[in-house]
Point group: C2
Amino acid sequence: METAITKSLKAGGKKLTKARKAILAVLEGNTLPVTVAEVHAGLVKARVGVDLVTVYRNLAMLQELGLVNAVGFHEGQMRYEVVHGRAHHHHIQCRSCGKIVDLMLCPLKKLTKLIEEQTRFSVDGHALEFFGWCPQCR
Amino acid sequence: METAITKSLKAGGKKLTKARKAILAVLEGNTLPVTVAEVHAGLVKARVGVDLVTVYRNLAMLQELGLVNAVGFHEGQMRYEVVHGRAHHHHIQCRSCGKIVDLMLCPLKKLTKLIEEQTRFSVDGHALEFFGWCPQCR
DNA sequence: CTCTTACTTGCAGACCGTTTGCATTTACCA
DNA sequence: TGGTAAATGCAAACGGTCTGCAAGTAAGAG
């Protein structure tokens, strides 16, 4: 099967290994961004023997190919989510229980041009996360 | 001298120690957010003997009192900046050289209410950082 | 189909930012 | 000035992430 993802892998000179398939399957089974440990736990549960290091290496690779997004909530670890087929969006995390919810919005498109004029940087991305208390914890 | 900061410390039951004064002095000498290691290096340069652990503990404490802001660029470490007297703002960092520039803007005030309606979270903060290439690196 | 080679993986261990425990020191108030 | 809670330094642990290297494997060439 030639999915968009396998196509990108091939284009990047990457092989479609058993580990890679399993990691992608775990990622695609989660709507919300997951930690490396969570991906690894998902592999264990699926009875796929893949080393934690391999998960790190593959997530880094998938991120470089633009197939996966890294999201950080200043938890001391990163989270990852698949990009394919999803609109650009952001998240909110509960300060109490850590729950994460998708926010299908982004107010920053217009701002980029303004920032480029002000700073003379060429802007190519942004990180935006919200924090608060979820209905259960507030 | 009774500055706004010393007042806040006293209100929090905190003592104004030599280490604390020195740490605050380093922070106030920097407009841009600095790492813990940079604060510590600043103390060494100022010939003030303060342990790295003490820097960590004080920055955490200052953050809890709301005197200091934590900023993360997904570098594997946090950065800190003093809040006092500065307007709420964000930053952009160069992906190549790591240079950081202040952005004296925030487009998110209106959005908060919308998010609260959509998610039923009570929103109490956000992290917004931009990335790109600075004039020297682009 | 098998050969070949570049890409991948697992394992062990290093690395680095951050945190903790505990004994000692210090700021501050009565 | 003396007593006490808070703060510090040191050593050591911790957790997430990365690296080196030898062994394993996907995938195109023939």
